[in-house]
């Protein structure tokens, strides 16, 4: 999702050190290097994606974020990015804790399970939702811990994690999420992006 890349780029100052956890084929890293001249590192589980990153000359470490984040020292990156993978971990709480340890700030994006189309799919059709941001069926989805923008917001409050900025994306529109508009943004945003520390 190109819009997501733009929002993430806007959250970053120039020339910072960034770790992209679950960096996929390196598209986001490439985008951020071009836009913000960041010093990027990626962590990726899938072999074909690791090879793609290497072909692009992007520094990537093959490994599992669930078990291998301990290799990164405390506060060794200015930003750690987790783009649309939080819900795929067995233990997202532990991963999140690790990300906050490694990065001075953390940017997380989640496909919002509170989006109205997701809600109506379950409400009116009685079926697990399949949308553009959630393209898999219940039997083959990698997503184990789906959550909504509101869930993540509440989680941060509960765990005393500081939300520096939260942005909702719906189609091509982006808007800031605050405590006051949380309900409405949780209903209309396909994707939520949180900058926390």
């Amino acid at each position: 999702m190109k819009k997501e890349f733009k929002v993430i780029a806007d959250l970053l100052p120039n020339n910072v050190r960034v770790l992209d956890v679950g960096c996929g084929d390196g598209s986001l890293m490439s985008h951020l290097i071009a836009e913000k001249n960041i010093e990027a590192r990626g962590l990726e589980l899938k072999k074909e994606n690791v090879t793609k990153c290497i072909y692009k000359g992007l520094p990537v470490i093959e490994g599992n974020a669930e078990t291998e984040l301990n290799q990164f020292p405390n506060q060794s990156f200015d930003f750690v990015i987790l783009s649309q993978t939080l819900q795929a971990f067995y233990n997202p709480e532990k991963v999140l804790k690790d990300l906050l340890r490694i990065g001075k700030s953390v940017i997380i994006s989640i496909p919002n399970f509170g989006y109205w189309k997701v809600r109506t799919s379950l409400l009116f059709f009685g079926k697990m939702p399949v949308t553009k941001t959630l393209p898999n069926s219940w039997y083959n989805t990698p997503n184990l811990h789906m959550c909504t923008i509101k869930d993540l917001f509440d989680f941060c409050v509960k765990k005393r994690i500081k939300i520096k900025k939260a942005v909702g994306i719906n189609e091509n529109k982006t808007s800031e999420i605050t405590k006051n508009n949380l309900e409405i943004k949780n209903f209309f945003s396909k994707l939520g992006i949180f900058l926390i520390s």
Binding site: R41, K47, V50, T51, C53, I54, Y55, K56, G57, L58, P59, V60, I61, E62, G63, Q71, F72, P73, S76
Partner: protein, 379 residues
């Protein structure tokens, strides 16, 4: 070994070199070979470090043994390390036996082969000697340096001694120090040689004989450690060697025995037994963090080199875990590092065989680094 080392490129290292053992040496030969051409902007040089039983003949036909170069699967025209595009350099390590200064060379003082009078050299010594070759070839900074196994150890040492001599580095299937198991296997190889009466405390060359039996056993030990259990089982299983049934003898009944015997007997043709002692010793002494008070992280501090560490899933000699430890240390010191584990049954030897995924990764990294290096040079 039975080959005459003739018509090979050698370079006289005239610069004084202080060895780790305390001796200072100069004016000794370093044998090397190059492939491809160094371009005008000198941004296409790749240095390859060879492994224990390798030599400078990486690609093409080895002019001494008349056999294919040891890394012909990866290096050559159109290969992953494309010699149409890159200038590839490889030198024979000191302590070796393919023309570089080693135990079979003549000691000027005694006018006899050094044998055990040759100083015990280290990986650091090997690397320092090879660095002088870069000056000789007029290369200020390499595009890439690479090596597998002991070649990888030399590479890591090279990067810590000379942190700005190569733009990128690919250590393959190696570690930052030898484990107890690694040392034990090397000791087995050394003991096999030393137990051969022909060895005679290393003085066999003066009598023009060779401890062939001991050296062959040493090679067999090595070969077992280079293959994975699964790979060996699939290749040989319990298959008999051109026999319908057991022979009730101690000849090579099984194919795996025959294979090891063959590997042993061909190896003695091309390698010097004392060189095995010296090089395995250098590997055992290797400990990258030894010269740094705060260990590996300090060793890698201020690294500008871009690393790609590659391991093989079935390598039990230098495991993925050991290779990952290199990655962790590089990461912790803030270096630019990539890591890829190649899934294969071919064991430690995977880097020497036609392993598609590995060769693809090698090519992708070097080509992308070339683009970056050219850009850096332009600025």
């Amino acid at each position: 070994m039975n080959y005459k080392i003739e018509n090979i490129k050698t370079f006289n290292v005239s610069k004084a070199l202080k060895l780790d053992c305390g001796q200072t040496v100069k004016d000794f030969p370093l044998a090397y070979e190059t492939y491809g051409k160094l371009n005008k902007s000198k941004d296409n040089a790749i240095l390859v470090f060879h492994a224990l039983t390798g030599d400078q003949f990486v690609s093409g036909i080895n002019p001494v043994t008349k056999k294919e170069g040891w890394w012909v699967t990866a290096v050559g025209p159109g290969k992953a390390i494309d010699t149409n595009k890159y200038f590839v350099i490889c030198a024979n390590v000191i302590g070796g036996c393919m023309g570089s200064w080693g135990p079979k060379e003549i000691d000027k003082k005694t006018r006899e082969p050094y044998g055990l009078n040759f100083p015990v050299v280290t990986i650091r010594d090997m690397v320092k000697a090879q660095e002088t070759l870069l000056d000789h070839l007029g290369i200020e900074k390499l595009l890439c340096a690479t090596g597998g196994s002991m070649g990888g150890m030399q590479l890591l040492e090279f990067c810590t001694i000379f942190p700005n001599k190569t733009f990128s580095a690919i250590p393959i299937a190696c570690s930052t120090s030898h484990s107890a198991q690694n040392i034990a296997l090397n000791e087995l190889a050394r003991q096999a040689i030393m137990a051969d009466p022909v060895w005679d405390k290393g003085k066999y060359l003066a009598k023009n004989v060779q401890p062939k039996n001991g050296l062959a056993v040493a090679r067999m030990v090595g070969h077992i450690s280079y293959l994975s259990e699964k790979g060996m089982q699939e290749k040989f299983g319990r298959k008999l060697q051109e026999k319908a049934d057991y022979e009730f003898s101690f000849d090579a009944n099984f194919q795996v025995e025959s294979y090891l015997r063959h590997q042993g007997s061909t190896f003695v043709e091309r390698f010097d037994a004392n060189s095995i002692l010296y090089i395995t010793r250098a590997m055992d002494y290797f400990d990258l963090s030894k010269h740094f008070k705060n260990g590996l992280i300090e060793a890698f501090r201020n690294q500008k080199t871009k690393f790609l560490v590659i391991s093989f899933s079935s390598d039990w000699l230098y495991t993925t875990k050991e290779n990952k430890d290199i990655v962790i240390a590089l990461n912790a010191s803030g270096a630019d590092v990539s890591f890829s584990e190649i899934k294969t049954d071919k064991g430690h030897d995977s880097f020497l065989v036609n392993e598609t995924e590995f060769l693809k990764t090698l090519k992708g990294f070097i080509d992308s680094m070339h683009v970056k290096f050219k850009n850096e040079k332009r600025i």
